[in-house]
Symmetry: C2
Subunit: 367 residues, 2 copies
């Protein structure tokens, strides 16, 4: 039996996270399947929950093949379902098709992007139909982030259309995903309000041609946000941050903009539904809001694949097509750190990617 | 011109709330309309927002015909749309039909319940079709709370059915509304989890035959709530409290119950939608929650009349019919204080009803 390296995350019954490389059997492609040698896989915020669980990452120690960290007692309840299981990590990635089962042999030698977990490894087998074949000449780095960010950004616009809104507010808007969303909305004529957390991020988006850029650290943040809501009519927001007051502030600004329209006072606030979807947790602090935005409001989670199932396979295929066609333009990703499999689980690297800083993005390159 | 007394709430540009009786022209019934002499009108939590706005009610002073209180500067922004306007108050009430316009003359002498505002007054004119004629022998006190609480409780069950849930969690469950919901759910076979805030309230609901009663002040609150979620399968909650951690705790308990089913760990939590509607604000503190319940969750406002418009006029008429038929059983209300129009705006009375204590309910009886 041939073995390969695979990153696994394990939480022990004693309350310890072990995040380390393991030697596991190398998978083989069955009928209709392809086997990729992974060349590049991003560390997305959506990977980090599985990677570190509820561990206290400020107390990381180096162990053989990776790191360990304690899981506070308070965090163990939420971890109950995964205690003692070695979980492979990495939602997506890209690589060369090195083997294929019956019916997929013609794909050998092509480069493809995949999703489905266990991409922080030397090899991964998936169904050929689920992969996204990269255009000729595309590099693995260009294709590594084909699914999560591009489809999430496209999914926001589809959600807007499906739920009857006409503009979007996005937080952490200078992220790779946020930059894609700026380009998609410009191409599709969708008004977009970008909330960023620094003047540098604002400048970055201005350079991409973004129209509405609001810096949440500026003293006139709320006034600017209300003004942008008035200009765009936005009643839908996607929030990557989750913790703190931002989601509630967005609802408050939407309501203030609606109330500024002619029509006068309504004792329960406006009847226009104001929706914030929380799709990430860059700030793991509690969500806090004052309910000063009437009764027509909603907040909730937003997750890519359940949404895609609602949109249906035809829409999903069309969106994947668009990603492939615009891989190096709309959907270009940027990485600040490139690490090997072993290099992603040094104490320094873990501290780096765990911080989820906008502009600090890690790409895992097994070789 | 004949005048009558009407309670009005005014917030001045200088930041002062004036809540006092005014003399206004007595309204006359036009074609299809009826004129009621108001005999009884409840002070519901949903009335209090309009009554006191953002005023600091701990600083009430007596003025001619009522009280005044300062509005903190921070509260004035939310009040902008009503500054300087004298707002009549009182959502619902009951009384004798003393006059009627063309086509409604046959109703003179009947007792009816109404909704639509301005019921803290001597008289109110409404469309005859919008009133609910009380059964013979029903008192005004029995009919005073015909709309808001009964239709809200019925609306919860209709929402449950419309959105595909099969059980309900209710907070502040010992309220008049909560007691109605216990009876409705028993009659309709809907599993109901009642969250109360004291042993006395638990005993009250037990006396009504409620099955699942959870005291949020008990040390084993979360364990009991999770157990009740397991037993009922509840994935829908209606929260009257709004502030603090309760809404998030309910989502957490629902998710824990779902995760305890066979099926194992999912990195993003369960895909079962968990919904909490906040329909009141008994606690005006901020809403605070940890997002430890996966991504399939939603929180939002719930308001009676927009919902009823969605359900449609036939359903609305059927629900009103049920209220009239079960007025003295399912939909019986209890009042701890009976006050006159002038008596509702003494500093003592304002402090009493503003506190929104479960079991402390005011009925305004103009005469």
């Amino acid at each position: 039996m041939t073995t390969m390296r695979q990153l696994q995350s394990t939480i022990t019954p004693e309350g310890e996270l072990i995040l380390a490389l393991a030697e596991v059997p190398e998978p083989e492609a069955g009928p209709g399947e392809i086997k990729l040698r992974i060349e590049a896989a991003p560390i997305n915020p959506s990977d980090i929950g599985l990677l570190t669980g509820a561990a206290d990452v400020s107390q990381v120690s180096a162990v053989a093949g990776g790191i360990s960290a304690p899981v506070p007692a308070a965090g163990m309840r939420a971890m109950a379902a995964r205690v003692g299981q070695s979980m492979p990590c990495g939602n997506e990635g890209a690589g060369i098709i090195v083997a294929a089962g019956a019916g997929a042999e013609h794909l050998i030698g092509r480069r493809a992007a995949i999703i489905g977990g266990a991409t922080y490894a030397d090899f991964r087998v998936v169904k050929a139909d689920d992969a996204l074949l990269l255009p000729d000449g595309a590099t693995a780095e260009q294709g590594a982030s084909c699914f999560v960010n591009p489809l999430t950004a496209l999914g926001f616009v589809e959600t807007m259309r499906a739920e009857g809104h006409s503009a979007i507010i996005h937080t952490a808007a200078a992220s790779n995903l946020g930059q894609m969303l700026v380009k998609i909305c410009a191409a599709d004529g969708v008004p977009l309000v970008n909330i960023v957390r620094s003047a540098e991020q604002a400048a970055l988006l201005a350079g991409l041609g973004a129209t509405h850029i609001i810096d949440s650290t500026a003293p006139d943040f709320m006034a600017n946000l209300i003004a942008a809501c008035k200009q765009t009519g936005a009643t839908l927001a996607f929030d990557a941050i989750g913790g703190g007051q931002l989601a509630g502030q967005i609802l408050t600004a939407m309501e203030a903009a609606i109330n500024a329209r002619p029509g006068g006072y309504s004792r329960y606030g406006s009847e226009v539904l104001k929706q914030v979807y929380i799709y990430g947790g860059l700030d793991i602090a509690p969500t806090v809001f004052n309910r000063g935005f009437g009764m027509a409001w909603a907040m909730g989670g937003w997750l890519l694949f359940p949404r895609m199932r609602v949109f249906g396979p035809e829409k999903f295929a069309a969106l994947k097509q668009r990603v492939a066609a615009e891989l190096t333009t709309t959907f270009a990703s940027h990485y600040s750190h490139r690490v090997s499999l072993a290099g992603m689980v040094t104490p320094e690297a873990v501290a780096g990617w765990y911080a989820r800083r906008t502009g600090q993005k890690y790409l895992v390159m097994p070789d």
